[in-house]
Symmetry: C2
Amino acid sequence: MANITKKVSWSSRADESAAAGESTPLLNGSEQPQHSRQDSLRGRPKEIPHNEKLLSLKYESLDYDNIENQLFLEEERRMSYMGFRCLEISRWVVCGLIGILTGLIACFIDIVVEQLAGIKYQLIKENIEKFTETGGLSISLILWAVLNFTFVMVGAIIVAFFEPIAAGSGIPQIKCYLNGVKIPRVVRLKTLVIKVCGVICSVVGGLAVGKEGPMIHSGAVVAAGVSQGRSTSLKRDFKIFEYFRRDTEKRDFVSAGAAAGVSAAFGAPVGGVLFSLEEGASFWNQMLTWRIFFASMISTFTLNFVLSIYHSHAGDLSNPGLINFGRFEGDSVTYNLYEIPLFIAMGAIGGFLGALFNVLNYWLTIFRIRYVHRPCLQVMEAMLVAAVTATVSFTMIYFSNDCQPLGPESTEEYPLQLFCADGEYNSMATAFFNTPERSVRSLFHNQPGTYNPLTLGLFTLTYFFLACWTYGLAVSAGVFIPSLLIGAAWGRLFGILLASTSSGGAQHSNAIWADPGKYALIGAAAQLGGIVRMTLSLTVIMVEATGNVTYGLPIMLVLMTAKIVGDYFEEGLYDIHIKLQSVPFLHWEAPATSHWLTAREVMSSPVTCLNRIEKVGTIVDILSNTSTNHNGFPVVVQVLESDEPAKLCGLILRSQLIVLLKHKVFVELARSRLTRRKLQLKDFRDAYPRFPPIQSIHVSQDERECMMDLTEFMNPTPYTVPQETSLPRVFKLFRALGLRHLVVADDENRVVGLVTRKDLARYHLGKHGLEELQLAQT
Amino acid sequence: MANITKKVSWSSRADESAAAGESTPLLNGSEQPQHSRQDSLRGRPKEIPHNEKLLSLKYESLDYDNIENQLFLEEERRMSYMGFRCLEISRWVVCGLIGILTGLIACFIDIVVEQLAGIKYQLIKENIEKFTETGGLSISLILWAVLNFTFVMVGAIIVAFFEPIAAGSGIPQIKCYLNGVKIPRVVRLKTLVIKVCGVICSVVGGLAVGKEGPMIHSGAVVAAGVSQGRSTSLKRDFKIFEYFRRDTEKRDFVSAGAAAGVSAAFGAPVGGVLFSLEEGASFWNQMLTWRIFFASMISTFTLNFVLSIYHSHAGDLSNPGLINFGRFEGDSVTYNLYEIPLFIAMGAIGGFLGALFNVLNYWLTIFRIRYVHRPCLQVMEAMLVAAVTATVSFTMIYFSNDCQPLGPESTEEYPLQLFCADGEYNSMATAFFNTPERSVRSLFHNQPGTYNPLTLGLFTLTYFFLACWTYGLAVSAGVFIPSLLIGAAWGRLFGILLASTSSGGAQHSNAIWADPGKYALIGAAAQLGGIVRMTLSLTVIMVEATGNVTYGLPIMLVLMTAKIVGDYFEEGLYDIHIKLQSVPFLHWEAPATSHWLTAREVMSSPVTCLNRIEKVGTIVDILSNTSTNHNGFPVVVQVLESDEPAKLCGLILRSQLIVLLKHKVFVELARSRLTRRKLQLKDFRDAYPRFPPIQSIHVSQDERECMMDLTEFMNPTPYTVPQETSLPRVFKLFRALGLRHLVVADDENRVVGLVTRKDLARYHLGKHGLEELQLAQT
């Protein structure tokens, strides 16, 4: 089963990633696992009982801490004030580019989806109209199913066979990335291309999905690409932005990209910034926040501008975002104090339904991990879902007899007459026979009485299960819009029922009760909040998408209630998926009851240390040791001619050693060839981020006897903590500074252990108090 | 002059604060100043050349780092999971209470101001109407001036004589507090009372001030009070929330309070959260952010609810906030692409005018620091300003001949007919003869043509200088509303000029150009942004106050332009005032060109260390040494029977030592009296935050010979850095964790120095590269 887990995990091609040297775990310490107390406790079992009780050793950590070695400090000290100004300006330029590109991608997706969906629905509509009279609607059904089938098949094939990481919305992956976990291939150009094509296919294919979630992933990829000034996939290096080729800077830009994605998806620049901060920030920096804000703003602006030209009222910038909730204006906007308890009740319902959704999806995902792990099976499942979705939709429309008059100012895009009288249309079809974005809008804004309660009830029920089944398929798709749609449907139903209950009693309040659109909005917020469990950023996103702050307060209340109720049952959807991947995700704070743990218990030990002047052979052997596969090595110095223990003097990373070995920076060679170019920071930046594996570096037997001087390259001032430091304190230091390795030293400044991400992520609060996750090599 | 600076500084009563033991500086190190290289460099001059080139040693630092000593850890370990849940719940309860109380205070201010201003304007209006016909308007002027005079006098007297820290908006002080600087008396109940009364007096007194800024300060005081569960001023201890009696928790609640204040002032809960984060956060914590959000939400809600009852349409919650920009609806809301450059130009104008405002106010403040430092002089200046304001307003109205017809749907509260024909009113009076909030709203929403350009131009000019003169007076008052008013006036003027220019040319665009209200809004944003230089939070606040996100993008652009242009000339207004107070304020990052500095250069040394078991006499002597007045002492341990140097084993604070001395926790006494109660964390909490000065603790000659064991009370795991650590790295650690003392240790773990706030705040980027501020005992 360990193998199965590997198969369907986000970074599913273990063979490839191993070859690329990307699967090296974070762990340092445990040099001789059999002797270590720690390891016997954490032993890696062959059989994996439950995925979510494990912590994978597969994921590397990002380093948010600058490696301030001599090379770096020399470069910084050489740089003038103007140099820093230029750097700052280029950061703004990069953010601007990120915004523009993200906006353009959003436009592209939107326009292509609109066009293709338009063609599809037109085709089916004509077909249905043709066969409604003559009988033979089964042909229409088949046409519909086949069209969906084809689109989804294409979408699923490219995702399952070419880039499995492009599946889903990408939000859990970006969340992990921003948290500091390196998810292989998540920010590559290829992923972006597959994601964009995949999302177009799945939305046009009529699945219960949205195109908004994937925008966040797309924005992040754009940011990672643009900020590095090169593309490894295209083998182009523009020789610009070289300064930004390190984890610290890249992660900042990826935050901006994610924010730009949210901003483009919902027309919510502030919401985007808050999303990035809520999900990613460890240390809030004002300048960074402003740059993120700038990228978001540009992204919305670009999208808005291009779409305004496309919709041929060029220059009108008042309607940003891929999804637009339409205007809530006039009397329907106000709400009253006695509606607040109702809103809170809706929040509770949303929290409950969201938790139900998450539990069902959790079981489904476990099932998928066990049985649906081959790409061809995944494609078949996606096609099955497509066919079922089409059939269910058709059946629902077919058996619905909710006919509504087609008014002159009706905004229906594809009104289906079907068995309705002339001048009328089938109301169920408005919900099913439409892109989900349009359905949401019509639920928000259609006149009272446009839907009858039965239609809404049936729609909620079917769409709920369809959406739940769809999330986690091997297609690129977001869960935002389906959640909004489910919520809008039951919210509207709630509103209608409320109006019919109260209309018997007090007549005066009729004007307020009578507007079901308001309740649809609140329901949508409740359902979405119940599923994803974001509060602050989601409130702002919803407010920005409605274009009206009046609903700010009820939306906040609803989202908070939904979160509290939902958390009682089950975690948020994204957190479930992160847990199922056994990612060493660091939360905001250490578990509350972990004060009795200290660095001594938490750390990995003994630690593989290097001497400041170390034999090449030793280094190669340590790096080649696949059983440990450490990434960071404390550097120690032995006091000359004394038997005192070695003292910590620095920290060096595997990636740095690899570069040093590649360039053969050996003491002996430096002496013999004085003209040899000194190794520069540029050499490290050129190799970033895909450092070659140690196996690809040839070191001759003679060279093995040479010595390497690490003084210049190591970080001479790594952060250290004493052994007695409590876990919350270690956690705070680690999280606030975004560290990758934290050295534990005794009071003689000797290395006694090393704390890495997985050492901290291991502890979590379960139902029976503090639990310790097992580590696994999956 | 040092004395003068002391007189008018925020904490202006040096005598009192010295007695209360609050003026102890942050500095540790420099035990023998005359021998230290560091100190000869930083020598404290008698004469102070320029205030802003100094860093005051007067301000203490807050400790955002928990003191994890044995007592604390024992308590945490004893606490069950349920205990932590209860704590979490009580945090939410406290935030709810903060929200409710802040909302109620806002209501109180609003209602009292409305009532008093109503009476005042009605009185003057009747008087003017009486004398317009008969001649003798000078009597009206005198009436007006005397009324203003009286109110302002009362406001100035209570501020200048009873609580000088209540002057101004309080935002710079709260900014400092959230940054980690302890400003004496800033969060006391007395300050709140004076602030509330003061702001009512100054707004009713007709000064060019707003009541919004002070709400932020009020919210912060409420938070500090509620979260501690007691009031020292009222001598009441409710014995609740004792866990929260430390800097870490208190600062979190003060963030929530400030956010609740913003939220109540502008009806902007999200803006409030962002304000708190932009100004205060060092480490973004999700749970904390949600609590802050909750407090903001409750505060808006409370205000809204109470005001809806007051305005007798109870239950309508759609109009939150003290200032309400009114609804921007219909055609006037849209804007077009070609307006964007205009908006940016307006942003630039705003930035320039803002910088001008700040420069003028800076000179004025320097003048005030030098010459207007006695309370009675301050009161006289305030009264002078009040009289001048009334006279100027009256003159402007008197000589204005801008008569406008009084339509049936006119919203004027106090239309002044004066010399206008019947059925008309004086347009200049709408701007001057009104509370500033109403004036802003009428500039935003009145029909095109309500103001003629000359009126607006003259109004902008006079109000600009009045507002500039007013800010910094010894009255409680905010600068938000005057800024908005100035901006709205010139923005509207800009719009009118634009309409008249373009109406000659293209007729088709008339509909868009013709709405001056839109330009008034943009102008208001530009001017406010140019003065205070906030971007993200201000954007959200403006958007929430207008109740419409359509203007989000232009407002962002405008604020960003205003900031960039303004920063070119001069800093933001709050930063100027912080600098003039020589507060050791830590910015987000170390200066860019500071990589050549290391901890060795930055730190204070030598450091006064204590032994783990130390003689009481030594401790008392060290604490009593007024020339050094250290606050934190590294604790070292001597290896027994060896001549090795002492090693660092902990850190203890002055406040802890004081409590220990007070309770006579001596080794000898513990042996003799076994039944003696063990010192608990509660004893430290009871003494927080006003620890008695060392002088008030009596230690007999016998007791001086006793020993004190610090093991249990010191923080055994203080953060340390090696001497080679670069300044940016030290800065990052210090800022991200909100430290107060950072020990610099060598590789034998011996203490070589101590880094405190002022050591880091000293370095800043001036016009000639990195500059070092001098330290002064002012």
